[in-house]
Every structure is written in C-alpha cells, then in structure tokens.
Amino acid sequence: MIRSNRTAAARLSTLVALAGTLALFAGAPRVARAQNPTQPPQGVRLGLNYALGTKPGVLVLPADTTAGDSLRAIIQRDLDYDDRATVVMLDEAGARALMPKSGDRFNYPLFAKLGVVAILRPQHSLTGLTVTMYDVASKKRVQTGSFTLPDTPNSAAWRMAVHAASDQIGKWIFGTPGAAATRILFSGGDKQIWMMDSDGANARKLTSLTLAMSPGWSPDGRRFVFSGFTARGSQIAVYDFLSHDMTWQSATPRGLNITPTFSPDGTTIAYASGADRGTDIMLTDVGGNDPARRITVGRGSDNTSPSYSPDGRQIVFMSGRAGHPEVYLMDADGTNPQILTEFTYGEAAYRASPDWSPDGRSIAYESRIDGSFQIMTIDLRDRTTKQYTSDGENEDPSWAPDGRHLVFSSTRAGPRELWILDTESGRMRQLTHAPGARLPAWSPLLAGR
C-alpha cells in the first residue's frame, strides 16, 4: 500500500487489507456489523467492532526511522508481553492508512471504533527516538518522551534503549513502568551461566567452569553472584559486567558453597555452605575476606536457597529440618525462624526455591503436588496460596521487577525450558529454546545499561 495514494479505489483496498489484518493478541474479537460507520469514504463500510474486555487497547504507529519496522515490532512485543494492554495489531500499510495527513489531527472516532484507547507514535529525532502518546477519549496528545538510541540498530544496547521506551510507555498509561528493559540469567543445559534479554534476544554464555549454577543479580544490575564448581569444590563467585572480572569469595574456602543471593543494599551475600555438620545459611560481606557468619542452626539438616525481603529485614529460605523440604522465614540475622507454609503433621510435602516478590507482599516457590512440582505463591498477609501451573515439572520461580511476572523452568512442552508467567492473567510464554535451561534470575530494571 502506498501512503500517499488517495484514490477511492486505493482507500478501499487499504481498508479491506486493514480489516483482514486486524487482529488482537489476547481476548476473542467479536466482529459485528457496524450500525454507524464513522467517517469512511463513500461506499466503504468499516464493519469492525471489538469487545476488548478490561485491558485498554493501544496502537503503535509505524516509525519514520531507518530501523522503523523493527523498532515498532519491539515496542509492540514489549507492550504485549507486559500483559496490561491489548495491542491492536495492524500491518504497516494498515497502520499508515490511519495516520493523519499532517500534524496530530487523527481520526479519533475511527480509533475508538477499533478499541484503541491510546495511540503511540514513535518518530525519529535528534536524540534517537521520540514517542508521543495520544488519548483517544480526550482526542489530544498527552505525553511525549525522548529516548537516546545507540547508533547501531538492533545492537544489544539499542534494543535495551527501545525496551526502556516501552517501559516508560507503560508508566504513562498505568502509572508504573513495565519490565521490558531487563535481562534474565540462568543455568544452561551445558551447566554454564547464560544471560538473555527479557524478550529472548541476545542469549550469551558468561562462564566456562566445570559447573556454574544459581545466578543472582546485584540490586544495581551491574554484577551477579553464582556458585562455581572447580576441581577443588564449589565456591561463591561474583561476576562484574563492566570489567568482566570474576572474583571468588573466600569466606568459606572449603566444602559446598551454593545458592548465593545479594542483600537489597548490595553489601552482603547470603548463601548456603555445607560440611560434615550439614548445610547452613551464611552471610559474608561482598568482596571482603571476612569469616562468614552462620545464621541458621540446622543441627545437621540442609538449609539452602535464601532470598531477602525487599526491605532487607527478613530472609526466606528452604530447610529440611522438619524431615522434608519446607519454606521458612527468619529475620535477616537468623533469629525468629518460622515455617511459612501451613504445616500438616505427617504430610510429606516438598516445597522449595522461594523468591520474595519486589513489592514484598508475596513469595513464589515450587511445591510438589500429586508427584509433580508446580509454581505457587503465598500471600504474606493472610497466608493464602495460589497454584499457577499443573502441566509437567515447574520449578525455580523468579520475580520480574514489575512484581507481576515470574520466570520459571518447566517441562510442560518436553525438555526443560524457561517460561514466563503473568500471575494476573495466567498467560504463559516460552522464553528459551535451549533444552536444559533452569534456575533463572530476573534482573532489576536495567534502563540505560
């Protein structure tokens, strides 16, 4: 389709193409005959009407930049993966047919008919990218944002900058940013640490050890901590993204040292250290060589997988102290340990891999139900639990910074892969296509990185 073609015939075919390509990612579109066609040219009937449910419809217009098409595609995908809006999908020609001939004079009633609440217009600018948002109800421009884009389209940094624009759009519409400008660390099928963008792009291997497991982000997103195995045993290591240096933590040089996590202030690493006496949670200063402080009294039991509350005051972890693996809470200094999930005497439960949500309100974990592991959350106010999965083995949940999405490993489609779950809608998507992926850790927001 040619944008400048104004003949009636061209208009007609454009609108037919538009009707044919109009599709929604979520929600069943209900096609009905329009009673009152709004503003179509003489002889053209725009017979489309969408019931959108509660999620507002957004439409991303084609961008007038050299990398415009992929830029539009990334923003559309980010908003779709964000799960808060319904992205009205139009092919480029269809979308161009809806652009005003000049300025901002959109045909708002037509957009309203398409179920569009917000129009997003990305444009090339001196800084890289300018995005303008128009509110269909009030028929006016409501937001404009400028985003610096690196010179190389589709480079990792360029994509991250576009994701940051998508997150800002989420903040305009809903008040809180999305979680597109994030990355996910995980253990690959080759037993090394890998990292990929939250949309699955830019997968790359970061370690070359006998075995590397259990990555965890620093709160500033500049480093990660993990458990590395060498001929001498397993040890906690910190990897710095800027220098690419790997530093072994020497607080507990011998034995089994696993499941590290950063404290929210970034100064402390909590991890599990095992020896003849069992495995206990330890604390050590980041980078320091101070002796580790043991904070669990497991009496020969196994205590692993700590995760801090966002305020740093408490730690959730798993322990076999009651004879079977369960999830426990304690204060960050190890005092006041208590079982988190309701304890049924004689029940051979297996609950594991707790991860504290960024809003502090709930904890995600895995629980064995009828012989298979499923992803659960528990609300910390009333201790109600919710089960999200039922197919295959589902393990290792990790929260996105939006407090809404979880990444986890699952065998639901065959070999173990990473999947992303929207805890609000229950919608799931497969993130990796690399058999054996597990132990994911979702980064904080990485805008500008």
């Binding site: 497991m213 089994l256 692993t304």
Partner: protein, 205 residues
C-alpha cells in the same frame, strides 16, 4: 600388571657356562710345540681341569636355576599382591546407594562401608573423597545439600569404625552428574549414590 624384571643376570649366567665349556674343549687339544712333560703329570692335570670345569658348570646351572625360581616366586607374589590390591581398591571404590530423598544408610550400604574399613586400616597413607549424588527430582539446589549429607553419613560411618576423619573429604554433585540417564525408578535408584575415590596428587589445598 607385572613389572618387567631385568634379564641381565640370567644372560650373564648362560655366558659363563658357555665360556667354561669352551675352556674345557680347548684343554683337550694337544699342544704341539710344548716341551715334553711327564705323561702322568700331563694326564692328571687334564683330568683335574675337566673336573673343575664340570663342577663350575654344575654350580652355574644350579645358580641359574635358583635365580629362575626366585624370579618366579617374586613374580607370583607380585601377581598375588596386585590381585589383592585390585580387590581392595574395588572394595574401597564400591558405590553405595540410598533411598529417595534419604541420606540414611541402607543395610546394603552399611555392609559395603564395613568392608572398606580394613582396607583403609591396611593403607594408612590413603586418603579418599566421598562424593554424594541424587536423582534429578526436586530442587537441584537442595539436591546439592542432600548429596553432601549422603556423603557425610558415609563418612560418619567410617569414622565411627575407627578411620581418621582427616583422611576423608566429602563433596556433592547433587543431580548434576547422573550415573544413568532416564526418568524412571531404575535410573533414579542408580543415581542416588555416594562414590568413593582415592585422593591423588598429594595434599589437598
């Protein structure tokens, strides 16, 4: 494998015997231009020389036989020792198995561990590493701790039976190094195990 023994002493023995026979053969020949000694003295000297050579030959043969016998004995002893040592190492390295999600020692595991005690007592310089493993069900992080607890239980048994704990290192690979691939009880039961290996290369760390 049998160590190779040097063949040199045997060869030297054979050479000496050969030399002695040669000397005796030469002595039988008359010496044409020699002054004429008395016939009796001459024949007596010849007979004496023959007897001496024969005695030397017999002695050498006996010595070579004795050497062969002793070499054979050494070889046999070494073979016996090697076989015994191989048996001992097999006993020491025998893998023990555990029940699902358990680190308690089964009766079978106890008897395998008990058999390792005299081996370790007979080899006071030998140090071993016990590595615990799990099947791949459950949290792979928690399984590392479970594998270590399995190794620790095995170590505790050996220590309780008189083995110095400083000779035993424990480690865990959790579910990361399965002995058998597969998602069934047959595979799982072979993966829930502790493996024993002598520590080589001198002192650790």
């Amino acid at each position: 494998m049998m160590p190779r023994r040097p063949l040199l002493p045997t060869l030297m023995g054979a050479a000496l015997v050969g030399a002695a026979v040669l000397t005796a053969a030469c002595a039988k020949k008359p010496v044409p231009l020699a002054p004429t000694p008395s016939a009796n003295a001459d024949s007596a000297a010849r007979a004496d020389s023959i007897a001496r050579a024969e005695a030397a030959r017999q002695a050498e043969l006996a010595r070579a036989r004795a050497e062969q016998d002793s070499l054979r004995a050494v070889r046999e002893r070494e073979q016996r020792d090697a076989a015994q040592n191989a048996d001992a190492m097999r006993v020491l390295a025998a893998t023990i198995y555990y029940d699902y999600d358990q680190s308690d020692l089964t009766d079978a595991a106890r008897s395998l561990l008990q058999a390792k005690v005299p081996v370790l007592q007979a080899k006071p310089a030998t140090r071993i590493r016990i590595t615990g493993h799990t099947d791949d069900r459950g949290s792979s992080e928690y399984n590392l701790a479970l594998g270590l607890r399995r190794a620790a239980e095995a170590k505790a048994f050996l220590v309780a039976n008189g083995i110095d704990g400083s000779r035993i290192d424990i480690a865990s690979m959790g579910e990361e190094m399965p002995a058998v691939q597969g998602e069934n009880e047959e595979a799982w039961s072979k993966n829930r195990r502790a493996e024993f290996a002598p520590i080589t290369g001198g002192s650790e760390e």
